[in-house]
């Protein structure tokens, strides 16, 4: 987990020191990147480009903007285009946030590979 092999049956003070040092470095980097995370804006459009959505890194919708063609096909078609635009914007924001996290992890623990999707899945299934 910390980028080097530790034998649990032979845990030494230097292993603990090294893990603490890495944790400190990672926490400092995370604090630094929090600002960048807050600045992420995800964008998405409906199929025809008449509906555009922007969302924050946590998926909160910032704005839905329409052009005059957006309402031509009626309210039901408009609803579908809004859903598409917002979902695409949320996906875009999530990709940006994951990319930032991945970059941060690589910088904090160079040479270590992370499968964020697997970690996410593992976290979600803790209480299953």
């Amino acid at each position: 987990m910390f980028g080097y092999d530790v034998d649990p049956s032979d845990l030494r003070q230097r292993d603990i020191d090294k893990a603490e040092e890495q944790l400190d470095r990672f926490q400092a980097l995370l604090a630094e990147r929090e600002e960048q995370l807050a600045e992420i804006v995800g964008t998405g459009e409906g199929d025809r480009g008449h509906v555009r959505a922007t969302v924050a890194s946590d998926g909160r919708v910032i704005k839905v903007a329409l052009d005059s063609f957006a309402v031509k096909d009626g309210s039901k078609a408009l609803s579908e285009q809004i859903l598409l635009a917002v979902h695409r914007a949320q996906q875009n924001a999530q990709q940006q946030a994951e990319s930032l996290l991945h970059e941060t992890l690589q910088e904090a623990l160079p040479g270590t590979s992370f499968d964020l999707a697997a970690i996410y899945q593992q976290t979600r299934s803790i209480l299953d």
Binding site: D58, G59, V61, L66, A70, S75, S79, I82, V86, L127
Partner: protein, 132 residues
Amino acid sequence: MPLPPEPGEDAHYMEQVIGQTETALNRLRQAKHLIGEVRGTGEAAQGLICATADSSGSLTGVDINPRALRLSVAALGDEITEAIRLAQQDTSRRTGEIIEDAAASAGIPQPLDETFVRERIELAASNMYRQS
């Protein structure tokens, strides 16, 4: 739950910890299930626009009354944004309440720390010293 004063009570203490942990996990599982069922709603334009969001804040529906299309495109966009924003806020509030309740009632036992281990080692050392 106070730590056992002597090693003879450790097994009983452990049983209590396991029981408490199981109860806490069940409460957290229940909370997770309730969170999964949360749906937030938000209305704007005097109820002509209604948005719904699921527990993750993902938009699940936008219902637009055709009369809302009489608004200017800019105003319609603002009203749609407001309905979605309110639905996401509603979701966040409901989810937050479930988490707060779960955290307050889960009662997760304090983990044994190095103090406990040190006490046990010192006790064993002192017993050995007395026996020698």
